[in-house]
């Protein structure tokens, strides 16, 4: 796979590769069919900067109330050697009272270099795997291959060892109310946790141990009901693990996309950026708004060429996959002669148009059919 590495670097121009974190990797599963996004992610291009340069900045991030609430809750759960977390894990996971060892891997001897922190993470986890004690490993810095290039993974998670197996603990500030939480947020947390499980399993394998020692059961710690009291819920992330592994494998097959590109093409922030971006085919759908920084640019592009995708995937499906609004309209009012394979769709659209016109004209005449 390394032969496309130089091509990917060229695509990125001079910008350093963007640091991946579980959120960006989990977001890969949002629109795998989009070549533009697949290429930019594989090359580690900063999509946010590209979108801003094109004049379509991604909608601004998070309210500071949410940020302070999130940090406040995480701090409270991890305070005093994770006192509240230990209580939860003792209740829910049957953690033994003697298991309280806590290792902070976020800062090593004042130095925050990633190489240093990753080395320490490897050392500590290696010792834990060989039977040494150690229960809570805060902020383990992990590595994961993205499109053939190693990327550091900034985790905001705790690895927790129980009976020789590691579990990922993910702390989130959305509330679990009477046992229910917002399904989209739980799904996002599950996908992120799956990325950590995967990275941990790769590290455990590198250290010569059985990757299955990293459990697919993760613990999601959230505030309970309307209070600050944390609650922990076990989450089986096997489906998400399979999806993330699939997407990462797809990224390594990005060479098909790279070959199809005119050589010399780069996403560097220059004048020819708009043409470069437009040269790579996108697959816009409204769902992109929630997961890709380029979404507003792609929507504008899709609107400009009257693509039915702008109206949503279900509309495009109803219109038998016809891609352009104009084409669908011409089929409906009969001004466009339908080629044989579109004959049936044309028939249905014409009937639909007739029925709508008939019902509207009848209503205008004040009657009910």
């Amino acid at each position: 796979m390394t032969d496309t590495a130089p091509a990917l670097d060229r695509l990125r121009g001079d910008a350093p590769p963007r640091n991946h974190d579980a959120r960006t990797i989990a977001a890969l599963t949002a629109n795998p069919g989009c070549a533009r996004r697949g290429l930019m992610d594989a090359a580690g291009v900063d999509k946010d900067a590209v979108a801003r340069h094109l004049g379509f900045p991604a909608p601004f991030g998070q309210s500071q109330f949410a940020i302070t609430r999130g940090n406040g809750f995480e701090q409270q759960v991890k305070e005093n050697g994770c006192a509240e977390l230990l209580t939860l894990l003792r209740e829910r996971a049957g953690l033994d009272v003697a298991e309280v060892a806590y290792d902070d891997l976020e800062v090593v001897a004042g130095g925050e270099g990633r190489e240093l922190r990753h080395a320490r993470t490897r050392a500590l986890l290696g010792r834990a795997l060989d039977g040494d004690a150690g229960t809570l490993f805060d902020h383990p810095l992990l590595k994961l291959d993205i499109a053939g290039q190693p990327a550091y993974l900034e985790p905001d998670v705790i690895a927790f060892q129980l009976a020789g197996r590691f579990h990922v603990v993910e702390i989130k500030s959305f509330a679990v109310i009477d046992g229910q939480a917002e399904p989209e947020q739980v799904a996002a947390a599950a996908r992120q946790a799956a990325v950590y499980v995967l990275a941990l399993r790769r590290l455990v394998a590198e250290l010569g141990h059985d990757p299955a020692r990293v459990s697919h059961e993760v613990f999601l710690v959230c505030p309970e009901n309307f209070s600050n009291r944390p609650t922990a819920t076990a989450l089986d992330v096997r489906p998400q693990l399979a999806t993330v592994e699939r997407q990462l494998a797809r990224l390594t097959r990005v060479d098909r996309l790279v070959e199809a590109l005119p050589d010399g093409l780069t996403f560097a922030l220059g004048e020819e950026l708009p043409e470069t971006v437009r040269a790579v085919e996108a697959r816009y759908a409204p769902e992109c708004m929630a997961s890709c920084e380029m979404a507003i640019f792609c929507r504008d592009e899709a609107r400009a060429c009257g693509a039915t995708g702008v109206l949503g995937r279900s509309v495009r499906d109803d219109l038998g996959g016809v891609d352009s609004v104009a084409a669908a309209l011409e089929l409906a009012d009969g001004t466009r002669e339908a080629p044989p394979e579109l004959a049936e769709l044309a028939g249905q659209l014409r009937t639909a148009a007739r029925l709508r016109a008939e019902a509207l004209q009848l209503a205008a005449a004040g009657g009910v059919a």
Binding site: P32, G179, Q180, P183, A187, L220, P239, D317
Partner: protein, 439 residues
């Protein structure tokens, strides 16, 4: 593989049935039997009926549809002519000929009129209208298709129950928003068996190990794709089943597909890749034409049960949507009269010699959870005793590859295996080896 695999298929199945009947006597409140497609579920129900009736217990049998009720009546009456059977029916139900053919079957609308019948059978909907009356034992057939709220309404009528069903089939669905109950162990939307096990985790669960329906060419494919953890094997060897096309073919694409299916048990009749409407006229025509052409080829099914003409009644066409079924019926015309055409939901529990299936993902531009549901494809590809011809447009692997997996996750809801994406991929990979490009 487990010790059971060393046994011959018949003995392996018999061992499980014996274990189930033994468990009925051990005081469990419930016994569950998972039965993959064609694994002898109805035979088990008939034997359990006789076993429990012989022990003198009053027995009620719950099926999901009137047709399933009549099927069971016919089997029980044939096997045990002296066993009094009561059919509890809705007012609007006119007894079918095959029910009336058995003198020992009494049909009535009120339970009291069947008081002295040792066995009373009805649909779940009918049982739910009763407010009193109790039976010691109940046998719940197709228990995985029954929704939890239906089990809640009839569970008051029995003390102990044998639950038999196929876990690989379609999940219960509803037309309204059901988010409110997600995560509850008694969520009305879960299948009856999953709620039963959520509240009684230590009930014994047996698994019928052999599919007598699926030929040796199909059992491994269906088992690997839809029953990853609870595999099963075919009751027949590779040579035991043969589909003979007596009339010669004309080498058309349809003929080559039928010949491939007859030879290997599978065929993928692949139309050119294109995005289409659901009622894709070209695919509908091809599906109907293949079924009609099959009849014209004078098919004969040779199996361990001897040889028999494959008439129209032994052929079925399956599809995902009702409007596709309507379009295929229209395309069949006179020549195809008698061929069953139905959606996956209604084909559950039924068996044919040859099936022609319009792939749910054919012509789709974007797959939805509905299209990707593993249970739907499992039902469609596990109805046949001899051969299954799948009609689909090219482009499905690319569609699956581009499918975004961002389904929501609800706390407390158990993860369902297999994942629809993996199941579709497994079936596609196998079909690719039996591909016949449309003419």
């Amino acid at each position: 593989m487990t010790a059971a695999d060393a046994l011959a298929p018949g003995d392996a199945a018999e061992a499980v049935v014996a274990a189930v009947l033994a468990d009925l006597g051990r005081g469990h409140r419930g016994v569950i039997v998972d039965s993959p497609p064609g694994a002898g579920k109805s035979t088990l129900v008939v034997r359990a009926t006789a076993h429990l009736a012989a022990a003198g217990d009053r027995l009620m049998i719950v099926a999901q549809t009137n047709e399933q009720v009549d099927d069971l009546i016919e089997r029980i009456a044939a096997k045990h002519p002296h066993l009094g059977v009561g059919r509890l029916s809705a007012a609007t139900y006119a007894p079918s000929a095959r029910v009336l053919a058995h003198p020992q079957v009494r049909v009535a609308q009120k339970a009291d009129d069947l008081a002295e019948q040792p066995v009373v059978i009805a649909t779940a909907a009918k049982w739910a209208t009763l407010t009193d009356g109790s039976w010691t034992w109940a046998i719940v057939d197709e228990a995985y298709q029954m929704r939890s709220d239906m089990l809640l309404r009839i569970a008051g009528r029995f003390d102990k129950a044998l639950f038999v069903g196929d876990p690989g089939q379609l999940d219960p669905f509803s037309t309204v928003e059901v988010e409110r109950w997600a995560g509850l162990t008694w969520d009305p939307m879960r299948s009856a068996v999953s709620v039963l096990l959520a509240h009684n985790p230590d009930l014994p669960v047996h698994r019928l190990p052999v599919s007598w329906r699926l030929p040796a060419s199909a059992a491994p494919v269906v088992a690997r794709a839809f029953y990853p953890f609870t595999g099963f094997r075919s009751g027949t060897g590779p040579g035991d089943r043969r589909l003979e096309l007596r009339a010669g073919g004309m080498g058309t694409a349809h003929d080559r597909a039928l010949e491939e299916a007859a030879a290997s048990g599978w065929a993928l009749y692949e139309l050119p890749a294109r995005h289409t409407l659901r009622t894709d006229a070209e695919a509908v025509r091809a599906t109907a034409a293949l079924a009609v052409r099959l009849l014209q080829r004078g098919p004969v099914a040779h199996s361990e049960q001897g040889s028999a003409e494959v008439g129209a009644d032994r052929i079925a066409i399956g599809a995902a949507h009702r409007d596709q079924v309507a379009a295929i019926r229209a395309a069949l015309g006179e020549e195809g009269a008698g061929i069953t055409v139905d959606t996956a939901n209604r084909l559950q529990g039924r068996e044919y010699d040859v099936t022609v299936v319009l792939h749910p993902l054919s012509g789709r531009r974007d797959a939805t959870a509905f299209h990707l549901e593993a249970g739907r494809l499992c039902v469609l590809t596990s109805r046949h005793r001899h051969a299954c011809v799948v009609v689909a447009r090219a482009g499905i692997p690319e569609l699956l590859d581009a499918h975004p997996s961002t389904e929501p996750v609800r706390l407390g809801v158990p993860v369902k295996f297999p994942d629809g994406w993996e199941a579709n991929q497994a079936v596609l990979a196998h079909l690719a080896e039996h591909r016949v490009a449309a003419g």
